[in-house]
Subunit: 409 residues, 2 copies
């Protein structure tokens, strides 16, 4: 008798018909003699609707009150799903984050889970009930409602799975799983049956928005077996496991791309210690996240620093850099928000030299100019002009034979 | 420095503009150096919308899950009102029923309050904060969310006022207070500055739906000074107090009317003990509330029983009575759903004979035929054809001089 935590996001329960579909799916799993805990998000765009209400009242809502407001979205979902389950003859019981006691820190609107009490959940499970838990929310030490930030329901599901020592945490989404590349770009992209937590983190941060990164980190830390699969189509989906459990380590798991980046370069600044800090300090203070950072080899005591930010932050970041450029006696500042990042990801890369040069060669053969390069142990990323996105991704997907999954590390 | 509990219903916070208006009103009261606890309902028709969602999922939602669902309505209200207050520079803090710990019994969808914890509320008040509490909801011993039934926010407000030993519980509604009669029927109906709890109970059960009866009973039991006043127009409203506090006891406080009744008569049943029970037992089992009951003096060992029910229950009640009529060998069953009830209410009535006969005489002079009569210590009710409603109410209003408030008991 296995214990599964199943998480369904906003799209999966976007309307009452879909809630009924999810109820049927959950009831079937329970009828197969599994114990089921379901974690749900708010229905469809409900969280946006609530945030808009707050925005109409004030441009600076108190984070505490925002959490009280937003958390109602999941509360509606859990009640309706529990009702739908009971209507199918499947005993069910809903819990808010406060009721399960998903304890978090004090950081309203992006709290982190510190502890999950499972007493009531375990009791209900042993009584044959399906337990339906509100994702995205918890409570802090003072008893105030907190929320975990966008996509936090994934984290709720993983935290519950860890606390309950579940056999698997199943994240149901609107895609069939994790692919070797974006199927909209690469026609013969292949569904991966398994990836490692580390690969998933890289793929996720690269725009394959299947799973929230914090959830993957959490799963990795507590070694919770994860599976991503479709709410709408039956299938095995993709398992996400720790590397030790992987018998065959693929050289390359996938090619990811990200259109959300913009590049800023500050040229001809004096090459002294602390330059990067002086350029990037104000960016960090403005809470703008920086992704890639490259500092070129210096010539004549001058150096260039290039970094990428989210396109939404491009204008703000440009202004900040222009401000410091004057103080720093820089030659020029230039920006480009028509770039994309393309990345090769694979744990097998670690033990194989030559992947990078093979990647650069394949791109060069298609006359794709590389603007920036950044590497990690299991990833190589390049920044190119956005017009090369599809060509670049398809070229690398074919170069490394990802369509037939032949290459193993 | 007074402590007021102010309750605003769904109409008073029907949209974001009205929430801003309520925030301004509350902030003004606080600026006058009062400590304020605000209790709010769900916005406008939100509770109906949520109930409809549940109804679309299943015709028999679990009451426990229904409470989880419905309670989100007030949770949205408290967050938005707290934000609106803070936007005005008025420090505020919201609490759900669970968070205040408004403890109730286990009866989901119509729970009764058993205890209110005030620790956090008192602490916030002493820190100069306005405390915004979700009406209509609480939690039971097991920690499950409960709701108090329609109109339960009035009861929440009174319970909080009692627990906090508030100086006054102010119920803001869409009317200016309690009138001597329905101003839509009687042009010169007068706003009462004060009524007793008992009078309010009679007026309320007679269709002057200003305040929920349970709230009045609760206020009476714990001697909480109540005031009903308008959300939209400034004014003193109507105070509702215990009789002992009333210096001048008015003979008649008001004339109430109720269009929601229907009358059923079963004629010529054997006049034996247990007749009323045999007629009304099945009605009670069907959860149909009976208002007036009259059993006529018997002739030739036969008797007639007449009672009134809500018009919505008329058809169901007729069927039930027709069923028992056969078993009881009754002569006939007749029904009339085109009746109204008109009532005189006043605590001064107790010490004055002759009110009833004066009432009947005034109606007779207008040729209004009385079909049923029922009396209590502070009320006399008659049932008449619905076409006489306006004439009957105006006649009694004038007869007892209610327009100028001259008559005292």
């Amino acid at each position: 008798m296995s214990l599964f935590v199943q998480k369904f996001g906003g799209t999966s329960i976007g309307d009452l018909d879909r809630i009924r579909d999810v109820a049927a799916k959950v009831a079937t799993a329970r009828d197969s003699d599994h114990r089921i805990v379901v974690v749900v998000s708010a229905m469809g765009d409900e969280t946006d609707r609530l945030a808009d209400l707050a925005g109409s009242i004030t441009s600076t809502p108190s984070p505490r009150e925002l959490d009280v407001l937003l958390s109602t979205g999941e509360q509606v979902s859990i009640a309706l799903l529990a009702m739908a389950l009971e209507a199918l003859g499947c005993p069910a019981r809903s819990y808010t984050g406060t009721q399960v006691r998903i304890k978090t820190d004090d950081v309203h609107t992006k709290a982190r889970i510190t502890h999950v009490d499972c007493e009531r959940v375990l009791k209900d499970l042993s009584n044959g009930k399906v337990v339906v838990v509100a994702g995205f929310q918890g409570l802090n030490e003072a008893g105030d409602i907190t929320t975990l930030g966008r996509g936090g329901s994934d984290t709720s599901a993983v935290a519950l799975a860890a606390a309950l020592d579940a056999d698997e945490c199943q994240i149901f989404t609107d895609v069939a799983g994790v692919y070797t590349s974006d199927p909209r770009v690469v026609a013969d992209a292949r569904l991966l049956s398994v990836v490692t937590f580390e690969e998933m983190l890289e793929l996720s941060s690269l725009g394959t928005k299947v799973l929230q990164n914090r959830a993957v980190e959490f799963a990795s830390k507590y070694n919770v077996p994860l599976r991503v699969l479709s709410s709408f189509v039956d299938g095995e989906g993709t398992r996400i496991v720790s590397e030790e459990l992987l018998m065959e380590k693929p050289l390359i798991s996938g090619v990811a791309s990200n259109r959300d980046e913009a590049k800023i370069t500050i040229c001809g600044v004096p090459d002294k210690p602390g330059i990067a800090y002086r350029v990037l300090g104000p960016i960090a203070e403005a809470n703008i996240e920086v992704d890639m950072i490259v500092q070129n080899v210096s010539e004549d005591d001058k150096t260039d620093v290039t970094f990428t930010v989210h396109r939404n932050d491009f204008d703000a970041a440009m202004k900040l850099v222009e401000n410091v450029a004057g103080d720093m006696d820089a030659r020029s500042v230039s920006g480009d928000n028509r770039i994309v990042k393309i990345s090769l990801v694979g744990v097998g890369m670690r033990s194989h030299a030559g992947i990078a040069s093979r990647m650069f060669e394949a791109l060069a053969e298609e006359s794709i100019n590389i603007q920036m390069i950044s590497t990690s142990e299991i990833k190589i990323s390049v920044v190119v002009d956005e017009k090369y996105l599809e060509l670049g991704v398809r070229t690398l997907h074919a170069e490394f034979g990802l369509q037939d999954g032949a290459m193993q590390g």
